[in-house]
């Protein structure tokens, strides 16, 4: 029987029923512009401020006014990076980042490099983890920003952000942490991270799309990169998306309240899925950190050798299973995930990549269905693969290391 199993929660999640309900009045009843001075405007502004309080509380920030709403996580990352270096231009023009960033971080920095700024991209180890000592060594006299992520968007590896934060604090450098893939799922405290800027993406923890969040420490310097009116205290021009901001606020509150239950549940499913896959399928590897404290509890990034990722994705889809892939055939630019190349994964294994990300609503019964289906899919594609034949005949060896 065909099922529908959604295992792409790191791409997006459905909104919670209470999020949806909370958003509704702000479309048709309370539609005032939050900058307006009449009653409807003030009502919207109050709703925004309530959301600010909710976000601030969820990340351990003292001042709700340090929360800036944007249109999405990508915009929050652009604002954090470009807004910081333009604000700090008089102090220097160098950025320290890593080779494993999300495109919204990497491409923001690449853009700045075309406009006279410089960047050093610190390497990651084969699990995708940055060594804080490498970050420190990359700092130059005119470094004004250290930009990295908490949990990796692709392989789920968790970075030692607190240690990097200590270095940033000691060297008096603004520190931006992209938490778009970790908020709602990992313990997040801006003070423990010693961060100066933190971004969040509510649609990845059961909030709506159309809103991103940037927290900015009082001491951090930032200028707006979108020019217009004085919304968001001059830090982000443009009319605020009130329904989405209200929904995001409810989502972040629920994420904090249900944090332990959600994370325990997804970690159990993640482990069930990986154990099932590796016991049923030969020549399959886990990309990123081992399951446990250094890995996002939702993320399972695997490579099945001798087959390609898009075929796996399409056959999963035909079995009602929604997943992602970092293989080049799935991307529109025909390049496989840069994170997979950053961890030094063999190119053919990168092509056989598939990303499962579990969520709070998945069940162990669904996971068992996925294991069963996926084992059949791999077998079917290997049956078509000339490379699998070569492996079976001993012409080529497996590239998966056995350690």
């Amino acid at each position: 029987m065909k099922r529908n199993v959604y295992l792409d929660c790191q791409s997006s999640t459905p909104v919670l029923p209470e999020v949806y309900e909370a958003m509704l009045p702000w479309f048709k009843e309370y539609y005032g512009n939050a900058s307006a001075l009449h009653e409807l405007g003030v009502r919207s502004r109050k709703a925004l401020n309530q959301s600010r309080e909710r976000f601030a509380a969820a990340i351990g920030a003292e001042r709700p006014e340090d929360i800036v709403f944007t249109s999405c996580g990508t915009e929050a990352n652009n604002l954090a990076i470009k807004g910081s270096v333009y604000a700090l231009e008089d102090k220097g023009r160098h950025i320290v980042t890593t080779v494993a960033e999300h495109p919204s971080v990497e491409n923001s920095i690449a853009f700045l490099e075309k406009h006279g700024f410089r960047a050093t991209r610190v390497k990651v180890d084969r699990f995708g983890r940055v060594n804080p000592a490498d970050v420190e060594a990359a700092i130059e006299k005119d470094t004004v920003l250290i930009a990295t992520h908490y949990a990796n968007h692709d392989i789920g590896t968790i970075q030692p952000v607190e240690e990097i934060g200590e270095i940033a604090e000691r060297c008096h450098i603004q520190f931006f942490v992209d938490c778009n893939f970790s908020a709602g799922w990992l313990p997040l405290n801006v003070n423990r991270m010693k961060a100066g800027l933190v971004s969040l993406s509510p649609h990845r923890f059961y909030g709506p799309k159309g809103v991103g969040v940037l927290w900015k420490a009082r001491r951090s310097r930032l200028i707006s990169i979108i020019n217009g009116g004085i919304q968001e205290e001059n830090r982000r021009s443009g009319t605020e998306n009130v329904p989405a901001i209200v929904g995001g606020g409810v989502a972040v509150e629920r994420a904090s309240a249900e944090f332990s239950a959600r994370t325990a549940h997804v970690a159990e499913l993640q482990s069930r899925l990986w154990n099932g896959i590796r016991s049923r399928i030969d020549c399959v590897c886990l990309n990123g950190a081992p399951l446990g404290e250094n890995r996002h509890p939702c993320n399972l990034n695997v490579s099945a050798e001798f087959i390609e990722g898009e075929g796996q994705l399409l056959l999963c889809n035909a079995s009602g299973i929604a997943v992602s892939s970092g293989s080049s055939c799935v991307s529109r630019n025909l390049k496989y995930s840069s994170v997979l190349s950053a961890i030094g994964l063999d190119e053919t294994l990168a092509q056989g990549n598939l990303i499962f990300s579990v969520g709070k609503d998945n069940t162990s019964e669904e996971i068992d269905y996925v294991i069963e289906s996926y084992a059949g899919i791999v077998e079917r594609l290997r049956g078509m693969s000339p490379v699998w034949d070569d492996y079976r005949k001993g012409v080529i060896q497996s590239k998966i290391s056995q350690d």
Binding site: E308, G309, L314, N317, C329, V330, M384, S385, P386, V387
Partner: protein, 146 residues
């Protein structure tokens, strides 16, 4: 999965989900393998060619995405029953057209299918010099005519 929400058109999906001529030919007369796993596609085409130079059977094995598998499946369908001369004329566009179109970024899959067919034919012609001269003579005659 509804058709209108699919990445590929129904013909491509059909050839991906129900590939024609998948497998190997134990007594193949010509085998062509093109592509590289690092680029995401490897296609292997096996041909059985009779004494009159007609392709009596064709099989494929492919490491690659949905459109690579569909392109190989369609290419083998298109060359079955054709003479060597006819099969050498197969272009990637014939494969794309027969599939009812491919997304622009996937056109290279059809190019690979054309190359795999040609590599299999070349392999056969290397093993059969007499047929190679016949094909070359026919080509020359055609060019003269043109």
């Amino acid at each position: 999965m509804s058709e209108e929400n699919s990445l590929y058109n129904p013909i491509v999906m059909d050839h991906f989900l129900n590939p024609r001529n998948m497998g190997d030919l134990d007594d193949a007369d010509g085998i062509g393998e093109v592509g590289a796993a690092a680029c995401g596609d490897i296609m292997k085409i096996s041909l059985k060619i009779d004494d009159n130079g007609r392709i009596s059977d064709a099989k494929f094995k492919t490491f690659g995405c949905g459109s690579a598998i569909a392109s190989s499946s369609m290419a083998t369908e298109l060359v079955k029953g054709k003479t060597i001369e006819e099969a050498l004329q197969l272009s990637n566009k014939n494969v794309v057209d027969a599939l009812g179109g491919l997304p622009p970024v996937k056109i290279h899959c059809s190019v690979l299918a054309e190359e795999a067919i040609k590599a299999a034919l070349d392999d056969y012609l290397k093993r059969h010099p007499e047929m190679a001269s016949r094909v070359a003579a026919a080509e020359a005659a055609k060019e003269k005519k043109a």
